[in-house]
């Protein structure tokens, strides 16, 4: 039977778990709740379990245990019902190669029960909205990567899904297409569309998402707004000190105890990363400590805390690895 969820919750998962054959634990007891109208991000490195999670929510992956409710429908018990409520933009191009650009939309509308006329009107409107009208009669193989991506988004939202899923939507797109897609998603959001996207690009998560779940090894490490996640670092400035000194541990410890406002210092591959609350006068202080310790500095950089900082603090590793 249909399960009712809180009106504001479009997705709810309870202890959602996926173990692939060979005892590969891809998602480990995930509890999520996505609210109506928000852009929700699953951020994590490759292999963290993001796509598996999206797969379970979109009926493509069967959970090993736990529950997932999308738009009030249990996706495992009633996948066909759930499919009417979701729109999916997968990682790879799944456009229908036998059809033209226009027909890809037209038949999608028909699959979802639109009348021929309604589907035609909607297809033309979407082609216009997604700036694809000129290519309406082209075979989809003739589209560039960015255009194919836009067409997949148009197709996914055509039946007005309760939630739009995008799996690594900008992977492999050129920078212009990426920005164009971000604009489209912001536009859809302003029309009230709930969106869940997976990404391993921090800028994308930071720019687009209202709330983020940081995932690694199938487990959720943090869930909050990008701002609050960054604030949780407890510092407003990150100083990256490049040096080839052998004793980076010792240098880090020295910085931590000597720099006013230092909240943490960790050795990294190229030197030391220092977190400071209050950046005033920090550079001369760092240089002074380095002089005192006899450490030669080759570069100094000041940044605001980023999601990358958050990720490194949570996992001890770089998201880019």
């Amino acid at each position: 039977m249909t399960l009712r969820t809180n009106n504001e919750e479009v997705i709810v998962t309870e202890q959602l778990t996926k173990v692939y054959p060979g005892d590969i634990l891809a998602v480990d007891g995930l509890d999520l709740s996505v609210h109506r109208g928000e852009i929700f991000g699953l951020l994590g490195p490759n292999g963290a379990g993001k796509s598996t999670t999206a797969g379970m929510l979109t009926t493509r992956v069967l959970p090993t245990s736990g529950r997932a409710i999308v738009g009030g429908v249990d996706v495992v018990a009633h996948p066909a019902q759930a499919k009417r409520l979701i729109g999916v933009v997968p990682q790879s191009n799944t456009l229908d190669r036998a059809l033209t650009v226009y027909e890809n939309l037209y038949f999608h509308g028909r699959f979802f029960g639109m009348s021929a006329k309604q589907s035609k009107v909607e297809s033309l409107r979407l082609l216009d909205q997604f700036r694809l009208s000129e290519r309406a009669k082209a075979p989809v193989l003739a589209l560039s990567g960015g255009m194919a991506q836009r067409l997949m988004v148009a197709r996914a939202v055509m039946h007005r899904p309760s939630i739009l899923f995008l799996d690594e939507p900008t992977a492999g797109l050129d920078p212009q297409s990426r920005i164009a897609l971000w604009e489209i998603l912001s536009e859809l959001h302003s029309e009230g569309q709930t969106i869940l996207l997976t990404t391993h690009y921090m800028e994308e998560a930071d720019q687009l998402c209202h709330r983020l779940a940081i995932i690694d090894h199938g487990r959720m490490l943090a869930l909050d707004t990008p701002e609050r996640l960054k604030a949780s670092v407890g510092a407003d400035t990150i100083v990256t000190i490049s040096t080839d000194t052998a004793d980076r541990e010792g240098f880090a410890a020295r910085l931590r105890s000597s720099i006013p406002g230092a909240t943490g210092a960790v050795p990294i591959e190229t030197g030391v990363r220092l977190e400071v609350q209050g950046s005033h006068g920090v550079l001369p202080a760092v240089v002074a400590v380095a002089d005192e310790a006899g450490v030669a500095i080759s570069d100094l950089r000041l940044d605001e805390p980023s999601l990358e900082t958050v990720f490194i603090n949570l996992t001890g590793k770089d998201l880019r690895e």
Partner: protein, 278 residues
Amino acid sequence: MSTIETPLLIPNRSARAAGVTAFRALLGRDMHVLVRNLREFLPRTLLQPLLLVFVFAYVFPKIGQGIGGSGAAETSFSTMLVAGVVGLAVLFQGIQSVALPLVTEFGVTREIEDRVLAPLPIDFVAIEKISSGALQSLFSAIIVFPIAYFVPATPVDLNFHWLILLTLTPLACVMCGALGLMFGTVFNPRTLPMLFGVVVLPITFLGCIYYPWAALAPIKWLQIAVLLNPLVYVTEGFRAALTNSPTMSLWAIYPMLIGLTVLFTFIGLRNFRKRVIA
């Protein structure tokens, strides 16, 4: 199952009604593509039977190299070949219209990932493939039949048994669609050449196209071995529907066609599920 609160634009209806609509729309899409690609569909469907009939039933008799003797025997060969050619066309269409696209959709384009998101149970996405293949098989049987009838140089002596023709044709078409689904889920782009070289070739050569099954009696082991070949029941069935020649018993043909349809559908659905749901 109660109806759910569906978003704007989508008719709010039961899951079953939505599924039926989606199924029909998927078939509509396939037929649209078929009509659009008629210029490819026709030569692909017609050339093989045309060559077959032309060489065996036109060229051979003309150059005095008739198969099965001369005179009355030649007439019976042309007559017998009609059922074989139509049966072959049905089988080929089932493979070409279901198995080949599926292998591509699974292995190369991943289009299948979108098709299984259509709002119906995934088993029905696969069953739609069988239905679409069966329709295309039927279509090719209809267009190939005149070739087998008019091209031979010797007269073709047909006797229509309508009850058999009207029941056997859809059954044979559905069986070939199901065979297409099974092959499409078993083979991948790398192993696809095997499908033609190792599977389809023996099916066609040993499918009782050029000889009736009863004529294999002198080679008993072969007569028994070809019973594993699904095409045998199709060609023998068409022979029973179109001629007065002696054929395998209808009591064997119908149950075998039904049984093979069930078997191929079962294996096809199981493989399909395995490949689209992780």
